[in-house]
Assembly symmetry: C2
Homo-oligomer: 263 residues x 2
Amino acid sequence: MTAKGFSALPLHERIRQDIETRIISGTLRPGDRIPSELELMARYGCARMTVNKALSALATRGLLERRKRAGTFVARPRTVAMVLDVPDLGSAVTARGQVYAFRLLDRQISDTARDRQAAADLGDVGRVMRLTGLHLADGVAFALEERLINLALVPAIEPVDFSTEPPGTWLLRHIPWTEAENRIGALAASRAQAKVLGISPGDACLAIERRTWRGADSVTVVRQTFVAGSHELVARFGPAGGSPARISAAAAAMTSAIGTSSA
Amino acid sequence: MTAKGFSALPLHERIRQDIETRIISGTLRPGDRIPSELELMARYGCARMTVNKALSALATRGLLERRKRAGTFVARPRTVAMVLDVPDLGSAVTARGQVYAFRLLDRQISDTARDRQAAADLGDVGRVMRLTGLHLADGVAFALEERLINLALVPAIEPVDFSTEPPGTWLLRHIPWTEAENRIGALAASRAQAKVLGISPGDACLAIERRTWRGADSVTVVRQTFVAGSHELVARFGPAGGSPARISAAAAAMTSAIGTSSA
DNA sequence: CAGTGGTCTAGACCACTGA
DNA sequence: CAGTGGTCTAGACCACTGA
């Protein structure tokens, strides 16, 4: 496994972890100045670029703040920005050991010229597809999905039958979106929502509204309404240096904590 | 060589944006191979390190995938990892033009040796402080907060009076946490929760459970229960190159979309 | 003014892995 | 095997800005 005896990690990575450890342990405190690149070159016996790479990475991740002439400082805790994992619903259900299914309830082709709500959601894009469907775990509906898709941008989706793959997964596999926004809140189920979800009107639900763009163009807008307790979002922040994939795996490995209903 | 008069941006940044633009516009599609570093050196007339910096940044952000010998490829859209902004509640309320206040309802000192729930939440850390309080906007309670704090790690908080500053803000200003986890769900208000929040039992609420660590030690665990419609979380993903701060500002500038209750 | 970080060069050796 | 990316060197010039 180890090729070269001792250097399992590249030098810039070891420098990065070294400094990070001092911040975590409290040896370096917020506001403290850390040695200049010149000093660190001498300490680690390496070129300035190598030190720079380590410090730049820590600055990008918000642990350090760099100011010209003044030096490099341990950053003060900032307004919190966490990494939110938005898993594919099918994968999430399967990971819980349940059987996932999507049931399409309704599909309509519309046009933003006539459909005011679609125009508000996607802009004046022309033809749109409006989908309504249910996400099921072990045959039980746990989320209602209402989605609009910009057909001008995604014409290939028009003939797709969503019996094998829900629209979100299809889009994820086919359309490289570049920007997305999620809004997360709670709401009381409406009469219509309650009916298809098999709950009572007024019951608590988690609501996610997600908009996706490709460049300046709207790809899709989706509103998902989850029965309370059936779904949980996890957001993390950590200096563990995790790639999104690793963070996602770590979150999936954890067990639930909020509203554990033993039913 | 480089036309030196016009470089508002560093060269590595221009190369990054150039390639990013091709991905966004669809000129480069998922799975496409992009030129090797050697070829890009020639194209941009620069050193390999400069090209490498641009490509590494895009790989870190998940837009490119790099494989030795094979080359660099436009990444396929991955499982979604978004940046979730977790704003200070006081700032969020003030930003909406309302007056924020925190009202402490209860404060107890306990010990994980006797307090089983505290031990489960924080680990066997010894003395803990248990706080219960309300977040108010224009004098109306919109969130209930129940918090445990590890006093061994944060002894300075013991005498603090939270009349001017809620516990979360105090902690953010004083304790450099290194890791945090949020769990977000919906729940129906219990009788006790409903009473202090001025709503009815069973009413929909947004629930956030946040755990914060400093290195291996738990700092605090907090459960916040928001009246439905009173609070919304926003998570974004975008190639706009936004720092967390910029993303946060952009999110704050947007108006609500989910469950706007005029009550 | 002088030290700092930001950027860039023109090389180099290496590990990896697909043709 | 040969091309690729990963890393690193030992320099350089520059803009910025606090002492």
